[in-house]
Point group: C2
Chain length 248, copies 2
């Protein structure tokens, strides 16, 4: 008979509010916790449930299936979440990934907003791009706010952090590079999206975009937009780029 | 000689933290305040400046140009903004708009998140759609959070609120309707975006999407996406739809 690994609770003092340099983080809410368990079961330390959570049996049976310990701990969930209406949390070990050399990439240069980063990760998965490079400094991929923004899509991705664009590029020299810039040379239209076997779509930071050195890093792309806006939101630009290149 | 309308400050007791049923609202931050002044000068009651704002002369000369009173009031800005790093606010009268009968529309059915709504408004302007219907209940277009999310694009739009989709539709029966749904009939591809002279793109709420009655409201559209995500973020779906229909 399989035994539940129900945590005794004697470790709970160790779980603290999120810190960037800790070796663990956590999902908040049922949906991202399910995604964590199903995509990265070996990384999960334990699952916390609130006694008023309505879908307990489903979650507990999933924990049993993957031999993940669970624990009722309303107090710790409240402490971690800062929010009402959070009934589940999943504590997991941080991990690192390797990007696939033969798959399309999205490269985010210094993304600064965790909510935007989360939305971008969800969108990448939505359009079938599973390999993401983040050029540092950048928003923390394991911060619970990023995870929440991604709706747990983070756990389906190979994300790797690089100190510089050059470091990324030297590892993947074969990808055809497309840099998204307001002064991009090529206007992205539906009829005329570039065709490439293997590509990297490169996007800058929310406030500053990519600097002009990226004009010659590959083919620079302009998403046509009205002069009535300063620019498109970064998440929208990534969405359009990923949609266009993956559906051409 | 033109005289500055410098407010005496005796009205400042009347400006309070935002309320949905108040007849005024306010922009927070320089960028949306500039957009407000340039797009809707007649609606502006006054502009508030913090004494440490770095671009004072530019803002004051813009206020003079449009004969808008301005006032230094660090305390009131702090009270309204809840945030550090806010140095400008623009108090304005709420207003109502009429949608153009001969322009493309975006119809948002029960949008619930103010940040998302703001991003959608900015994206609509970005792709050249200036007429927006909101089917109630929906997030408050004049809430400062929506305005901030829109980066002031709100002030460039004709937004009208409707009690029901039927009310909207009876006013604009000639628009060809496209409803964006996960079970949409027609898959939106780059090569095959529907062509319509005059169209309305209809999107549902963040959590629930459009209900099945919208399958027969026009042509239902599915944006191709991986089964690895529950759905695309609403803002991304609107971005893809607006981009595809405006650039076909």
């Amino acid at each position: 008979m399989k035994q539940d690994r129900i945590s005794s609770g004697n470790q709970e003092q160790q779980i603290k509010a999120y810190k960037k340099d800790a070796d663990y983080s956590y999902t908040l809410g049922a949906f991202p916790t399910y995604e964590l368990i199903k995509s990265m079961p070996n990384q999960v330390r334990k699952v916390l449930l609130d006694t008023s959570f309505t879908d307990q049996e489903h979650l507990k049976s999933l924990c049993r299936e993957y031999q993940i310990p669970f624990e009722y701990n309303n107090k710790l969930i409240t402490k971690l979440s800062d929010k009402e209406n959070c009934y589940v949390a999943g504590i997991f070990e941080k991990y690192s990934c390797t990007m696939s050399a033969d798959k399309p990439h999205i490269v985010l240069v210094n993304p600064s907003n965790m909510g935007n980063l989360g939305t971008i990760l969800r969108t990448a998965v939505g359009f079938g791009i599973y390999d993401i490079a983040i050029i540092l400094p950048g928003a923390d991929i394991f911060n619970p706010k990023t995870i929440r923004g991604s709706m747990g899509a983070l756990f389906k991705l190979n994300i790797h952090l690089y100190e510089s664009y050059e470091e990324y590029r030297s590892e993947f020299p074969k990808h055809e590079v497309f840099t998204f810039m307001l002064n991009g040379e090529k206007t992205l239209t539906l009829q005329d999206c570039p065709k490439a076997e293997l590509f990297a779509l490169v996007f800058g930071n929310e406030a500053t975009g990519l600097n002009d050195s990226f004009l010659t890093a590959g083919t620079s792309i302009f998403i046509p937009q009205s002069p009535d806006v300063d620019s498109l939101n970064l998440t929208i630009a990534v969405g359009i780029g990923a949609y266009a290149f993956m559906n051409r």
